[in-house]
């Protein structure tokens, strides 16, 4: 164990509606790293992401998760967020009646308050936002729209990335953010994420596609199958998966 361990998941078991989905996941993410989490549909990738974020529908039945040395599972979802855990949702939620700008500023200020920093007023906030908007190719009209309401699938994903860029978390979990995006959008998203890479933060990319990994080079690639991580390796593993699919990995899962 090094000092830079940001997330350490040990033998994590998670059940959804009484059915066990994760059956003992072990995962260590160090600061400064990008991990890609791949695997067939239904293998538990989103379950892992949701459980780490603290969704009440995902019950942890065994195991532990340490984040920055703290017991992540003992923290309320909003505490995890304030401590720097960010989940980019696979299906971002629409909230009518609240503008994107107001929602974002409230989130920024909730986190700033937690850190003992002064809250940002609307003007300061807009100043800080401008550059980040530009990076994802948006103008400010998106800020005055209700959160994700009436957004296309691609716009919702970009909005997640905007939030990620603005909230600047320590641990970002991106749950299939690249799904449903066209080639250019994948590139924009990937570049934004790549720019946020620092020695003191880490990213877990949940993805089905090799393509995004050509823009963000992962340090470690994991394959999740039937609720367990069945193989981990370097970025070359992703390419191998792209060529061979997942079937060759299913058998060892049963043995190990």
């Amino acid at each position: 164990m090094t000092d830079n361990v940001l997330l350490q998941v040990k033998d994590l078991h998670v059940a959804v509606e009484g059915r066990e989905i994760l059956k003992g996941v072990d995962l260590t993410v160090n600061a400064g790293e990008v991990h890609a989490l791949m695997g067939p549909n239904g293998s538990g990738k989103s379950t892992l992401a949701q459980a780490l974020a603290g969704h009440p529908g995902y019950a942890v039945t065994a195991g532990q998760a340490l984040y920055d040395g703290k017991d992540l599972l003992a923290m309320a979802p909003e505490e995890r967020a304030r401590e720097g855990v960010f989940l980019a949702f696979q299906y971002p939620i629409a909230i009518r009646g609240i503008t994107n700008a107001y929602f974002l500023r409230s989130a920024v200020n909730a986190i700033r308050k937690h850190r003992g920093q002064e809250e940002l007023g609307p003007v300061e906030f807009m100043d800080a936002l401008e550059e980040k908007l530009k990076a994802i190719g948006w103008d400010s009209s998106y800020l005055n729209r209700p959160v994700n309401d009436g957004f296309s699938g691609g716009e919702k994903k970009r909005n997640e990335i905007l939030q990620l860029a603005v909230l600047d978390p320590k641990l970002a979990i991106l749950d299939e953010t690249d799904s449903g995006l066209d080639i250019d959008a994948v590139k924009t998203v990937a570049q934004t994420v790549d720019k946020l890479r620092r020695p003191d933060n880490a990213t877990v990319l949940v993805t089905h596609y090799y393509r995004i990994l050509t823009h963000i080079e992962p340090d470690v690639v994991h394959v999740l199958a039937a609720g367990r991580i069945v193989k981990s390796g370097g970025k070359e593993l992703a390419l191998e998966l792209e060529e061979r699919g997942y079937d060759w990995l299913r058998e060892p899962a049963a043995v190990s």
């Binding site: 974020a53 603290g54 969704h55 009440p56 529908g57 309320a76 979802p77 909003e78 995890r80 967020a81 304030r82 960010f86 989940l87 949702f89 971002p92 939620i93 909230i95 009518r96 009646g97 609240i98 503008t99 107001y102 929602f103 500023r105 409230s106 989130a107 200020n109 909730a110 986190i111 937690h114 809250e119 007023g121 609307p122 209700p146 939030q163 909230l167």
Partner: protein, 477 residues
């Protein structure tokens, strides 16, 4: 869903009972009881005759059951129709008001002592059946504005009262209006003379305290030519297991180019989670835009009452007159509300705007019922209606019944409606961004109600937001 639902409405904070010696007439309604009420108020004979006519009409009327609400039978003979604190206050001097009453209103956040006044607001405080104090009367009198208890107006300004009382809501208008006309006890009277812009916000606070009584207040506001007045009413009642009846009538009259802005924050006791107790709020409110270019604007925030039956409306008689209705109605637990408005267009170029926001939580049932009627002579009338419903949880209901009756082909009508839901997923999403569930719910509800809250006078907008359990932190801007 339990987490979300409990955050929508804070526990009822106004449920205390003031221990004060009251004079309560025995339950029941008869000619004699009406004579007794009229006598206690020192009323002239014409008033008594009017009351009796109303009572005799009421006896022949069936209780209406067309509203989308359900409740057991009301025993009108089991209600006491008059209750008043025994130490009668002298209205000229606040020192003589029972300190317990001052304390009660103080506790409710309604300062009657002028030195603790709300800036720019004159208050009439009504406790059970009587007005106990009206502030700033002298200040208002300087501008010719009359603001007093209606019982006092009947004695002091009989010509005005006789001319306008029942001119918008006749004594036989409907079952509850007829009952009110027979037994109304107090309420406020406002007259703003020609060309005067009322320098203060006028406000009446209604408090039900006594047990087994009903409150039947009557409010009459007359804005003479070119005048302006903004009026606000608030209300609350103790927590009790029994249901109490509140059947009010409000009449507004706006003459040429006059404007009346009428705001309500209704917070009667809503009953408990199981639906025990709470006020039956059966109210008739109507404004007549009699004059050219006159305007009446209703804004209501309805959070209380077990059952609400209320349709503040505007009769747009004068050419170029304007009617507005802005409403937030919240039903939580077992509350039921059937509320909306009536806009009757008679004059040419009359315009009306309806913005209704219904929020249902728990097992609450929220119904918008509105009528927009364009009569033959109403050339180029316009209406815009917007009815939005928000559901919190999966056991509540939202219903919309818009009635549109157009008899002039030049009319332009617009109607928009929407339904949305605060779900566990939205709350989790907000939490994942660092917000607490309370902040998330209040943000969503606040955003939903924004268009209505901005119509309220400043102090009361704050009160309304607080009532919805909304934290104001960080919401400015």
């Amino acid at each position: 869903m339990s987490g979300i639902e409990t955050q929508v409405l804070q526990p009822y904070k106004y449920g205390f009972v003031t221990d004060i010696e009251s004079e309560v007439v025995p339950p029941g309604l008869s000619d004699d009881v009406i004579r007794l009420i009229s006598d206690k108020k020192g009323e002239p004979a014409w008033m008594l005759q009017w009351r009796l006519r109303a009572y005799h009409n009421w006896q022949k009327m069936p209780e209406p059951h067309w509203a989308n609400v359900r409740y057991g039978p009301v025993d009108y003979q089991a209600i006491s129709y008059y209750a008043a604190p025994k130490r009668r206050p002298k209205l000229e001097s606040l020192e003589q008001v029972d300190p317990k009453l001052l304390e009660t209103f103080e506790k409710l956040g309604i300062p009657i002592e002028e030195r603790k006044r709300l800036a720019g607001v004159a208050v009439d405080a009504v406790f059970d059946s009587v007005s106990v104090a009206t502030t700033f009367r002298e200040e208002l009198k300087k501008h010719g504005v009359i603001f007093c208890a209606i019982s006092e107006a009947i004695r002091e300004y009989p010509e005005l009262v006789q001319e306008y009382l029942g001119s918008v809501v006749p004594y036989n208008d409907n079952f509850f209006a007829a009952l009110n006309s027979a037994v109304f006890t107090d309420g406020s009277f406002v007259y703003v003379p020609k060309g005067v812009r009322c320098p203060l916000e006028l406000s009446t606070y209604f408090r039900i305290n006594a047990e087994s009584t009903g409150q039947f207040e009557r409010t009459l506001i007359i804005a003479d030519e070119g005048s302006y007045v903004s009026y606000l009413e608030g209300c609350s009642a103790p927590v009790r297991d029994e249901n109490q009846l509140h059947a009010a009538v409000v009449e507004l009259v706006a003459l040429d180019h006059a404007t009346i802005k009428y705001s309500t924050i209704q917070n009667w006791y809503p009953g408990d989670e199981e639906g025990r107790g709470g006020i039956y709020n059966f109210v008739t409110k109507r404004g007549a835009c009699r004059g050219r270019g006159s305007k009446i604007s209703w804004t209501q925030v309805e959070t209380g009452s077990a059952i609400t039956w209320k349709y503040p409306g505007c009769i747009l008689q004068g050419d170029d007159s304007i009617g507005e209705f802005y409403s937030v109605a919240v039903t939580n637990h077992r509350q039921q509300a059937d509320t909306g408005t009536k806009m009757i267009h008679m004059g040419r170029n009359t315009r009306s705007t309806i913005v209704s926001k219904g929020i249902s939580a728990g097992r609450g049932q929220n119904t918008y019922r509105g009528l927009v009627k364009i009569l033959k002579g109403a050339e180029r009338a316009r209406n815009y209606s917007q009815c939005d419903s928000m559901l919190i949880g999966d056991q509540c209901g939202a219903h919309t019944f818009p009635y549109i009756d157009v008899r002039n082909s030049t009319a332009i009508m617009e109607h928009e409606a929407s339904t949305s839901k605060i779900g566990e997923d939205q709350i989790f999403y907000a939490k994942q961004r660092g917000l607490s569930a309370e902040d998330a719910v209040s943000m969503i509800v606040n955003g939903f109600c924004k268009e209505v809250f901005k119509e309220l006078p400043m102090e009361f907008a704050v009160e309304a937001q607080r009532l919805l359990g909304i934290s104001l932190e960080g919401s400015v801007g």
